[in-house]
């Protein structure tokens, strides 16, 4: 090997070792464990595809967790609409935008465990901020919303909470909005376009790769949903918030079924790989890097 090649590998060594030990080896060994009966304290024993078979035929827990996770996809379009809406407002030429931007971003710096406490209390149906709404609903005769204590609404509680923590997405949309060439708006204005037509025909097409990217990130994010449900609901009531990552964690660290957990981890890996491939295809079509690739 040439000296320059050696030097290159030397410089990337910290990451390269980390990649081999903490990413590549775990992915491969997890694949092996996913075909084993592995209870942590005893040696792994090869059982073929049994873990996959028993998971895929388990409608009470596994499919329930998949269903709950897929339900959370509802939050993706909501977050896109709210995120772009806020970004459009923050992109108006007004005084004090840095102040508003800080207020919208602030909820995103609240540590997950603290925001979990906070939302349990805010959405407490009798004494929280949700109480006045429930009083109105009760008077109207339509019944109170019990949020995290009712299986029918518990997931909506998490969706609302996620929308509150939209800060990062909003900043990304704002950066995308600021990247739309100004002359396009000027041309549209000369042609007599209304503000709504400009958003529809100039802004949205320009930021569509970002929207697509954020949608895919949102879908992967649903599969990673863990801290909030672990702290707030432990999967309940009636398994209505048993999400994919929570069930994976329970299998591994509460039931000590490493084989099952590994099979779930590998299925998650396949989902992520597919999503990464999609993002890559999108970026090939839309994004071009300045300077060297």
């Amino acid at each position: 090997m040439r000296w320059s090649t050696w030097k290159g590998y030397l410089f990337i060594a910290p990451w390269l070792i980390g990649f081999l030990v903490f990413t590549l080896y775990p992915i491969l060994s997890t694949l092996y464990f996913s075909f084993c009966d592995y209870r942590v304290l005893s040696e792994p024993r090869w059982v073929g595809a049994q873990n996959y078979r028993s998971l895929l035929s388990d409608s009470d827990y596994f499919w329930r967790s998949v269903f709950n996770t897929v339900f959370m996809f509802i939050g993706v379009p909501l977050s896109i609409v709210l995120g772009i809406g806020l970004a459009l407002l923050l992109n108006l030429k007004l005084r004090g935008q840095a102040f508003y931007r800080a207020l919208f971003y602030l909820p995103s710096v609240v540590p997950a465990v603290a925001s979990a406490f906070l939302w349990l209390w805010v959405l407490n149906p009798q004494n929280g901020l949700a109480a006045p709404v429930n009083q109105v609903l009760n008077q109207a005769g339509s019944g109170a919303i019990n949020w995290f204590t009712d299986p029918a609404t518990s997931k909506w509680g998490f969706i609302v909470m996620d929308l509150w923590m939209i800060g990062s997405a909003m900043i990304i949309y704002l950066a995308a909005l600021q990247g739309v060439p100004i002359h396009l708006y000027e041309a549209a204005k000369l042609d007599g376009a209304s503000p709504w037509m400009m958003i529809r025909h100039v802004t949205l097409p320009h930021i569509s790769p970002v929207i697509l990217y954020m949608a895919i990130i949102g879908i992967i994010g649903a599969f990673q949903y863990f801290t909030q449900t672990f702290v707030m609901t432990q999967g309940g009531p009636e398994n209505s918030t048993l999400f994919y990552s929570l069930y994976l964690f329970q299998n591994a660290f509460q039931y000590f079924r490493m084989g099952h957990a590994s099979a779930m981890a590998w299925m998650l890996f396949l989902v992520t790989a597919l999503a990464t491939f999609l993002v890559w295809r999108i970026s090939l079509r839309y994004v071009y890097y300045e300077g060297q690739a």
């Binding site: 903490f22 108006l92 998650l268």
Partner: protein
């Protein structure tokens, strides 16, 4: 047209004020609850300012769980994480932006492909690895991985290094500097804003991380604030004023860091499109 132009800023400010106020409501509710006496917690209407302001809740919250111990643990982990992350990301970022070598493209592509990998995919096997080393119930599983690079931060630093003129490195190399010296004395000082961003994000990530300390720390003496807080909920489930006081105390350092370094935060997120 003129009337419309005069009204637009008013509508804009109105919408922004209304929405940002809505976003602040839960935080205001947290602060308000944290100073309520026990007797005023459960009322049928919303009370923002209690009749008696009970600052004692903060004292009680901080003494009913070993707050200072957990703060110390969290700070130790966060500081080592920041040091490890900055050093282990600078070198690969330099190799991916300012050097030319065979294999550069393929390794960079491999690194990018790991960006979206959820920790849940690798955590089982990494846990078994650290367990076999006897590292469970120590800070090592939380600190050591930080010394082996992070794809996000390497990418972020690389993007920044690409914007520096190529002549800088050429001149230094001609003058007899080694690549390492060039990085140490020329590139790294110029990358200060990007390094601050990386330090800040890794600090916040270590401070708020829940999953890893939950998996690796069993001994209550070793908990971080995030995990300690979670156990606090189990023991004081109905004392919302104490819970909100504890949540406020754990949140406050993050808010202060954010307010001081706001520009760095915002630019960092916009730069990499990363979720903070």
């Amino acid at each position: 047209m003129d009337a419309k132009r005069r009204w637009n800023p008013v509508l804009g400010h109105g919408a922004l004020l209304l929405l940002s106020g809505l976003f602040m409501l839960p935080i205001a509710w947290m602060l308000s609850t944290s100073i309520k006496p026990d007797t005023e917690l459960f009322q049928d209407r919303i009370v923002w300012i209690p009749s008696v302001i009970e600052w004692g809740n903060y004292y009680k919250a901080l003494t009913t769980f070993p707050f200072w111990l957990y703060l110390k643990n969290t700070v130790i982990i966060a500081v080592f994480t920041v040091i490890g992350t900055v050093f282990s990301c600078l070198l690969p970022a330099y190799a991916f932006s300012r050097m030319r070598w065979r294999g550069q493209g393929i390794w960079f592509a491999i690194m990018l492909s790991t960006l979206m990998l959820p920790p849940q995919v690798t955590m089982l096997s990494v846990f078994l690895l650290f367990r076999s080393l006897g590292w469970v119930d120590t800070f090592l599983p939380l600190i050591v991985p930080a010394f082996f690079g992070n794809a996000f931060f390497i990418f972020m630093l690389r993007q920044f290094m690409l914007t520096l003129p190529k002549e800088l490195t050429d001149a230094a190399l001609l003058d007899g500097c080694s690549e390492f010296q060039t990085l140490r004395f020329i590139i790294a000082p110029l990358c200060k804003p990007a390094i601050v961003t990386v330090a800040l994000f890794s600090f916040v990530a270590a401070w708020t991380d829940f999953l890893s300390p939950l998996i690796y720390l069993n001994d209550a003496e070793k908990y971080t604030l995030a995990v300690g807080l979670q156990y606090f909920l189990g023991r004081h489930g109905e004392q919302w004023n104490l819970l909100m006081a504890a949540a406020t105390v754990v949140t406050a350092p993050m808010v202060i860091v954010f307010l001081i370094a706001q520009r760095t935060f915002i630019q960092g997120i916009a730069l990499t499109g990363m979720k903070g």
